[in-house]
Amino acid sequence: MIPEVEIIGKRLGSRGMVVGFDADTVYAVRVGTTPSEVLLAGLHDLAWLRKEGSLLQAIIPQAARPVSGVLIAADLFPPDFASLLPLFSFPCRLFRSIALAGQPFPWLLFEPYPPQVAEEKAVLAEITEAEERFFSSW
């Protein structure tokens, strides 16, 4: 389960797989790649998805749109991996696979990577002047 992404896992032509889609983006990976290779595959082979536009429309007409992107799910990402995202000209979303307590093991879930920090929480976590005085002047 990936938040906001409907997973379909449909084969696209002979080269790729449409993993799923969300409100804006169709996500795809090339067949035969491991998670760590997916990004590279996406960089080199995004063109194949565009070429398969008509096929894509036939498979998921409700999701077919001109934008397309790469979805990567992995246990671990290299350090600073997420900082590469703005460099890409196409949407790319990263997810870390997780399992929640109380769930049977094979039932894997995914969480966004890097973790999303809610704006409200970030504001709450800001240090106030009173706190700064209390902890810095003694």
Binding site: A99, A101, A125, E131
Partner: protein
């Protein structure tokens, strides 16, 4: 039960696993609010718990796997294992957990899985730097972590002399006043910290941390 004659062989391990507890051990997070050298404080606390007769398994994200063994068992030291493999269905990790009285998780505020890890803890101990000049930075990190988890049982520890004691008092007061928490005082030596942990008699969690096959 099949047995193998050689010491430490499969048969012996099977006998040992037969007597392992089926109750998951309590889990305590040791959150380093400062330089990485604070992991020494975590190790010292774990060693003190071991010295007090507790079977401790210390899990850390920077654990280096030693060949085929996931668990490092230095002679006279604390057993250590990986933090990141918690979701793997690994028999060795599951067995090591069941053979422990306490699971210590050495945590860093930047750990991307911290929010999830906090949710499996019985207790969170903040490891503070002993220098007063680093207190504001430590508080900044602590607030970021705790602001959404005021329900979590937590305490503070700073290893050292009078300056560490002053840091501890300042932090205890600050957490009470600004975050509305009621933190526990785990003292300034690993020994006192270990004793406080033992005195708490933490309850066992409902689910094990590792889901082994056996």
């Amino acid at each position: 039960m099949p047995m193998s004659p050689e010491p430490g062989g499969k048969g012996l391990r099977e006998i040992a696993s037969y007597f392992l507890s089926m109750t998951p051990p309590p889990r305590i997070g040791l959150l380093m609010l400062g330089p990485n050298s604070l992991n020494q404080a975590g190790l010292a606390i774990a060693a003190s718990l071991g010295g007090a007769g507790k079977r401790v398994l210390l899990l850390r994200s920077d654990h280096q796997r030693d060949g085929a063994d996931l668990i490092a068992e230095p002679e006279g030291g604390v057993r250590q294992g990986p933090l990141a493999d918690w979701k793997t269905c690994n028999e060795q990790l599951g067995r090591a957990e069941r053979a422990s009285d306490l699971l210590l998780l050495l945590l860093h505020p930047e750990n991307p899985s911290l929010a999830r890890l906090l949710s499996v803890l019985n207790l969170l101990i903040l490891l503070l730097p002993a220098e007063s000049g680093e207190v504001l930075g430590a508080y900044r990190l602590a607030k970021r972590v705790l602001v959404g988890r005021r329900d979590l049982s937590c305490g503070v520890f700073a290893e050292g002399g009078s300056e560490a004691a002053a840091v501890l008092e300042r932090f205890l007061l600050g957490l009470r006043v600004f975050l509305g928490l009621r933190p526990l005082n785990f003292g300034t030596t690993p020994l006192t910290c270990a004793q406080e942990i033992i005195n708490l008699q933490l309850e066992s969690p409902a689910e094990p941390y590792f889901r082994g096959n056996s």
